[in-house]
């Protein structure tokens, strides 16, 4: 298999398999999670200002008082790499073209130099967060294989994509194929690891916010 055949495979059967497993996993887990149901809270609801599902969705996006100072890397680094990922994934013209081809949705792309900068900043933030995870004894203690693994499968698509655009290390064709392959691995892994937070994040915040709002506690 030469590199063009490799690229054609990851663009064809590889993508088909990855998207298939992704959809299967995502729908399975969403159905399972949201049909679990919860016991009805029979207590009379209390009403407190700022206590609701929607409030919690937003409030949890901000650092609780004092935490930003105690753990700046987690918050600032986390914000930077999440926003960076969004810019790279949704702002790069070839990515938009893929989404358009798959779903019909389309929007204007960002200049490739800006996306390039975002990719570098994203990778830097991710590396800093990884070093922080290794250096801080508590974080290291709490980390399991899944944490290291999901970091790697998130980092690799950015790295290979950036290297493909910059023509580093390997010929563009091979690097592009590796980039697409790494994204396919991410797609396959996403529904079955903590990366599924991409889908459940706001739902679980809403749930927690609503359950506590019933008790009159803004969380």
């Amino acid at each position: 298999m030469n590199e063009l055949q490799f690229l054609t495979w990851v663009r064809g059967p590889g993508l088909d398999i990855a998207v298939g497993i992704f959809l299967l996993g995502v729908l399975w887990r969403l159905f399972e999670i949201y049909t679990l149901g919860r016991k009805k809270d029979l207590a009379a609801p209390r009403h407190t200002a700022g206590a609701s599902g929607l409030h919690t969705v937003f409030r949890r996006s901000l650092a609780p008082p004092g935490m930003l100072k105690r753990s700046p890397v987690s918050y600032i680094g986390g914000y930077i790499f999440h926003i960076g990922l969004a810019i790279v994934v949704f702002g790069f013209a070839p990515h938009i073209l893929l989404v358009k081809n798959l779903t019909g949705l389309s929007w204007p792309g960002l200049p490739s130099q800006f996306v390039d900068l975002a990719a570098v900043v994203t990778m830097a933030a991710m590396v800093v967060m990884l070093v922080d995870r290794i250096n801080k004894p508590v974080k290291r203690f709490l980390s399991t294989f899944e944490d290291w693994f999901t970091w790697a499968v998130t980092f690799l698509p950015v790295l290979t994509g950036w290297m493909a655009v910059q023509h580093l290390l390997l010929p563009y064709t091979t690097m592009l194929a590796l980039h697409i392959l790494s994204v396919e691995i991410l797609l396959i892994v996403l529904p079955f690891t903590k990366l599924f937070h991409a889908f459940t994040l706001f739902g679980s915040r809403w749930y927690n916010g609503k359950a506590n709002a019933h008790k009159g506690v803004p969380v």
Binding site: L23, W28, E32, L97
Partner: protein
């Protein structure tokens, strides 16, 4: 500067200055040092016409057409004249047995020294019966001619990589020259067709240095195939700005924006079209408004369609819808199982009263 070639050129009205300029251009095009231009001129001027045997196999004659297009007005054509083309079915006057004899005579006289040019792929299916010349299969003729040659130039994508005949499902079992011949230096000059100056450049290099130029991992001269079309494309700034033609006749297309979204394979195609251009530097596919097909890459025919952008699926997703239904079904089934479990637990629940605890 004297020699058979320079004399011939002088007779044809080509001045020494023009010839030197041509050699310097050729040298710079091949990324050789400036001194190589003079060396090339001296070597070529003095060169004896090396014997060249051109074997056409499973091909469309497009490669020959391409080379001959550069023939009469340009110096490339004259250099081409300066080799002794002893066998070329399309161009030679001889036919039938005479042609075969000419080939055999050339092979005998120049044993071990002649340059073998091959265009077209070699079919191996049905013992090579899909393409025969004078009652002999291509593979048979190739092996015989390759045995006594100094080097082989695989002209065009078919000879280099199998090309269109090898495209899925490859009914004739077509293969490239390098799939068959393993013990001779082979230079691949892919393209459908290849650029004439690449051909003459390689010949000039061979005449000057007695060796083939530096090749990449696919056997292509690095000087011409070292960079991608995309990297040297004059429309590249539009790609970087995110300005794309969406159809072949929209405002973007008229403004000369990037053709990536229309399926241009420039980013993965190594060739010199963007710098050397075609028809004496007149234009080239992207300049004329059509994306690159990727014709100088192996198996370009089966690379997911000419009009599909590189970043979109090569094939329509087949299992996605099915997988989504299975996933949803599995989720629903599991949720029923969970509910049954919950209900069973509820039923099995035995209330404990204070009295029970005090027992």
């Amino acid at each position: 500067m004297q020699g058979p070639l320079i004399d011939t050129l002088a007779r044809q009205g080509v001045t020494r200055r023009t010839f030197l300029k041509y050699c310097a251009t050729l040298a710079s095009m091949m990324a050789l040092p400036p001194s190589a231009g003079l060396a090339m001129a001296e070597a070529m001027a003095a060169a004896r016409r090396p014997s060249v045997i051109w074997l056409p196999f499973q091909e469309c004659t497009g490669c020959t057409e391409s080379i001959t297009r550069s023939h009469s007005p340009t110096l490339e054509g004259m250099i081409f004249d300066m080799i002794s083309l002893d066998y070329q079915e399309t161009l030679m006057a001889a036919a039938g047995h005479q042609a075969e004899e000419a080939r055999h005579a050339a092979m005998k006289e120049n044993a071990g020294k002649y340059l073998l040019i091959v265009d077209g792929s070699i079919p191996l299916g049905v013992d090579g019966a899909y393409s025969c010349i004078g009652g002999r299969s291509n593979v048979d003729i190739l092996k015989e001619a390759a045995a006594g040659c100094a080097a082989i130039v695989a002209m065009g994508s078919c000879a280099s990589f199998g090309g269109i005949p090898k495209a899925n499902p490859n009914p004739t079992g077509a293969v490239s020259v390098s799939d068959i011949i393993k013990d001779k230096p082979i230079v691949n000059i892919p393209g459908c067709p290849p650029i004439p100056v690449v051909m003459t450049g390689v010949l000039a290099h061979y005449l000057t240095f007695g060796s083939l130029p530096e090749l990449d991992d696919k056997g292509r001269p690095k000087a011409f195939f070292g960079e991608t079309i995309h990297d040297r494309c004059y429309r590249r700034p539009f790609y970087d700005q995110g300005k794309f033609a969406k159809t072949f006749d929209d405002e973007g297309a008229r403004s000369g924006w990037c053709l990536f979204e229309l399926g241009c394979k420039g980013p993965v195609t190594h060739n010199a079209c963007a710098t050397v251009k075609w028809n004496g530097g007149t234009s080239w596919p992207v300049e004329s408004g059509h994306g690159c097909l990727g014709c100088s890459e192996p198996d370009f025919w089966d690379a997911g369609g000419f009009y599909k952008a590189l970043s979109v699926p090569a094939d329509p997703l087949k299992i996605a819808a099915f997988a989504a239904v299975v996933g949803a079904g599995a989720g629903v089934a599991v949720s029923f199982a969970n509910r049954a479990k919950k209900n069973a637990a509820k039923k099995a629940h035995q209330p404990i009263t204070l009295d029970d605890l005090e027992k």
